[in-house]
């Protein structure tokens, strides 16, 4: 038997609000099942259970704020008799094994209002984004809905949001602690994009692949060849990760940025990469990420896509050791032998932690990435 405790979803997270239980007492659960939704500054995060068992007892009611490590439920392992009911110690509860690292993700440490007004999670999230006091919308003890909050849109507050504060803290720490080195190379994307167009011509709109998916797949393939950039700097040494969980920088509509992980991307082909990425973007923007997705990134990829600028020199999220920046693909002059032509060109950048790797490794990475993108058919 063990307790299931409020997980840490980022180094700065002190507490979160348990919004909704997805299980009830007596339910059996399997490792990886989502058992509850908690609300943090990143929105509503689904939290997963880390062992098989039966939900013996629920210890915390919905809409309750709990500190990290607070027991939320008692889970008995499937083969135990289901009668034991002794209070478990809180420290056995923290799921250390679950997170090899706790990257400093944007989590608010602003006190969450203690007097809770009933509302849907989305309404609460929106109200927070817009800086609207939920209590001003509550009527007759009825739950506040999203539409009410949206109709109340007012001039935005100048106060820094919890997410902004958390990003500020994490990035300051990164720049103070990590000796960054930067490398950059232009990559001719003409044949990769041409290949992708051919692929998409024969696909239905639901199955279309976006260049972002092709690029992420190419980065993951490259990391298999240059694994030193995929991992963590901990206890003064580099720990390479077998799993490749690239954190994908996704801009939120209103403000801020989250880099949730595309978990185990090394097992995905280009179609599964596209589907997983599309799902991740949608869930990030609607505030439905899982705990594992915001704690297990092994490297970060910033892809500025079609709306961005030409090159990006990123700041590494500790304890990760690298960040890959992919700029907007532009039409640019390209010399090939003694002829000059206009080609689709993307600036690929690598920010590396100089304690973990040298420029030579970073250079190998960018060269390999270039090489892989010249033979895109191998990425299928």
């Amino acid at each position: 038997m063990s307790t299931f405790a409020m997980p840490s979803l980022g180094a700065d997270m002190k507490s979160a609000v348990l919004m909704e239980w997805k299980v009830k007492e007596g339910d059996s659960v399997k490792k990886g099942d989502v058992i509850a939704e908690v609300e943090t500054s990143k929105g509503v995060i689904e939290i997963e259970v880390f062992e098989d068992g039966i939900v013996e007892k629920i210890l915390v009611q919905e809409e309750t704020e709990s500190a990290v490590g607070t027991p939320l439920a008692i889970i008995s392992s499937s083969n135990e008799s289901a009668v034991v009911e002794k209070p478990a110690s809180p420290d056995m509860a923290v799921e250390e094994a679950e997170s090899p690292s706790i990257p400093p993700q944007p989590i608010s440490d602003k006190p969450i209002e203690t007097q809770r007004v009933k509302s849907s999670p989305l309404a609460r999230k929106k109200a927070k984004e817009l800086g609207i006091e939920l209590s001003t919308l509550a009527k007759d003890d009825k739950p506040v809905h999203l539409e009410q909050v949206e109709s109340k849109k007012v001039s935005s507050t100048t106060e820094m949001s919890g997410m902004r504060q958390a990003i500020a803290k994490a990035m300051s720490r990164s720049n103070a602690d990590i000796p960054h080195y930067y490398l950059s190379t232009p990559i001719n994307m003409t044949s990769a994009l041409h290949w992708l167009e051919e692929q998409n011509r024969n696909r239905t709109i639901e199955d279309r692949i976006l260049p972002a998916a092709l690029l992420i797949r190419a980065v993951v393939r490259t990391l298999q060849e240059v694994p030193q950039l995929n991992g963590f700097w901990m206890d003064d040494e580099l720990h390479m990760s077998e799993d490749i969980n690239p954190g994908i920088a996704i801009a939120l509509r209103k403000e801020g940025l989250i880099t949730p992980a595309l978990l185990n991307a090394e097992h995905m082909d280009i179609d599964t990469t596209m589907r997983a990425l599309s799902d991740l973007v949608t869930r990030t923007r609607s505030g439905k990420l899982r705990g594992s997705e915001i704690t297990q990134q092994t490297i970060t990829i910033t892809n500025l896509g079609d709306l961005g600028v030409e090159s990006v020199y990123g700041v590494i999220y500790p304890p990760q050791v690298a960040l890959v920046g992919l700029g907007r693909i532009i039409d640019a002059p390209w010399a090939d032998g003694d002829s000059l032509s206009v080609r689709k060109v993307m600036q690929a950048t690598l920010a590396g932690d100089h304690r973990a790797t040298d420029g030579r490794t970073g250079g190998q990475f960018l060269n390999k990435l270039d090489q892989i993108l010249q033979t895109p058919e191998e990425l299928l």
Partner: protein, 80 residues
């Protein structure tokens, strides 16, 4: 479906994908993606949803013809 009805369906779909946009902020002649900060994922989601409601699939090669609201409505009218 009339052009006016198609226009309403398109606007509704944009607002669904990007709920923070106000309808009056949509300039019918502005580049949809750039003016409303809709990235390639959300643009594809909009086109996928419109394919379901209107029944017209926009091939990638025609993206240049659906860049603004006016162009998109014209395109759907022509291909219905």
């Amino acid at each position: 479906m009339t052009a006016q009805e198609i226009k309403q369906v398109v606007i509704k779909q944009i607002l669904e994908i990007a709920p923070e946009i106000n309808e009056e902020d949509i300039d019918p002649d502005a580049h949809i993606q750039r003016s409303l900060e809709i990235d390639s994922f959300d643009f594809l989601r909009i086109l996928t949803a419109l394919n379901k409601t209107i029944g017209v699939e926009v091939p990638e090669a025609d993206y240049g013809q659906v860049d603004t609201l006016t162009h998109m409505v014209d395109y759907f009218v022509k291909h219905l």
